[in-house]
Symmetry: C2
Subunit: 216 residues, 2 copies
Amino acid sequence: MVPPRAARTQRRTRIQEQKEERILEAALEVFSLHGYRGATVDQIAEVAGMSKPNLLYYFRTKEAMHRALITRVLDTWLDPLREFDAEGNPVAEFRSYIRRKLEMARDFPRESRLFANEVLRGAPNIEDELKGPLKALVDEKAAVIRAWAKAGKIVACDPYHLIFSIWSTTQHYADFDVQVRAVLGEEKADESRFDDAARFLEQLFIGGLQIRDQGS
Amino acid sequence: MVPPRAARTQRRTRIQEQKEERILEAALEVFSLHGYRGATVDQIAEVAGMSKPNLLYYFRTKEAMHRALITRVLDTWLDPLREFDAEGNPVAEFRSYIRRKLEMARDFPRESRLFANEVLRGAPNIEDELKGPLKALVDEKAAVIRAWAKAGKIVACDPYHLIFSIWSTTQHYADFDVQVRAVLGEEKADESRFDDAARFLEQLFIGGLQIRDQGS
DNA sequence: TGTAGTGTTTACCAACCGGTCAAATTATCG
DNA sequence: CGATAATTTGACCGGTTGGTAAACACTACA
């Protein structure tokens, strides 16, 4: 009788976990494609293969569904940056960070688009998380980058805008996928697209970051 | 009696032009903020300062309004790339192209977000224009860039992904404005944000493109 | 001033949407 | 098996949405 959300103090059953997983998977599919407002509960229910009231038994509102989804995505989305290691070799760290971000754009485009959709709308539901955990993490990594520059390990540059540019260039291949396809032509296979992108971005960032001839 | 759209064979009156302009301005405001589905005709009518039926007298459907808006935006959006001059100095051309794109992100963020919203949704209404005029223009400029590289004027790199990276990094400051603000902190004034971004992007792209010491 | 066309508004509608409810079905466990 | 709780469903509801009908107002011009 009592909806599972209220009974969460107890352990969740396996069936609840599975259903919630199926729902969030379907919600990701629909939200990422149509945005929050554009998605309908009926649509999500259909993709999840269950009736609307049944879906609403697990997530009482559309908003609850979206919130659960976006906080989860935001968390995994920051993993690559968390791995960014102050102790490692600077150039190697950037190289693997860029590669990880590009792989996420390739393998999890729906998550990227969900996030993009949310930020585009002004991030009404995640503003606090952006100003809190996200900002804190970026501040931390920016300090690392600045220290590297001061130590002469990489060229000096604004660490925040450097991170922004890595975010934007990599996520572009998920969020603007249709445009990229249209310009490159459909014949260009996915593999090739991402390989070319990886090669270019490495050239752009690593080439630009490495200390070489400082003249002119 | 007859709606103006059908009477378009005749010249449009001044009042029609003005009203349509007011409507498209309001539509841009609302669509860019809430996306196609999230925007309501009532909302647009209110922003435009007229009643809904009155608005629908000038644009018979919500979709017609959106289509008129997006084709116009797409057109002006490509202007900076059109100005990209094959005869000019390569480095100077890139520098001014980046600056123009960044200025557009600063001065016309709504247009950028409208476009981003559309592409995110799979560009259902502009797919043809992406594969047609857009692709043609990019192909043309890509050839120019390749020729510059072959002539040794800039370093060799994939011209398509270079253009993508300029698009994504500059538009990021319009589309992900909320995130940028959250990370940099609200105290950072707009002017400073864009100045810093301009300085960084110049360093990234121009520094990376210029021919200097080629040794590892 | 009459009238035809242009522009505007009030009232309205059918479809859709998020969400509820009560009843039915199924799983759990003594 | 019996009983209790968990899950699922069809029917439904109030509010919103895109769009329409028709009357009304304004303007230009003979």
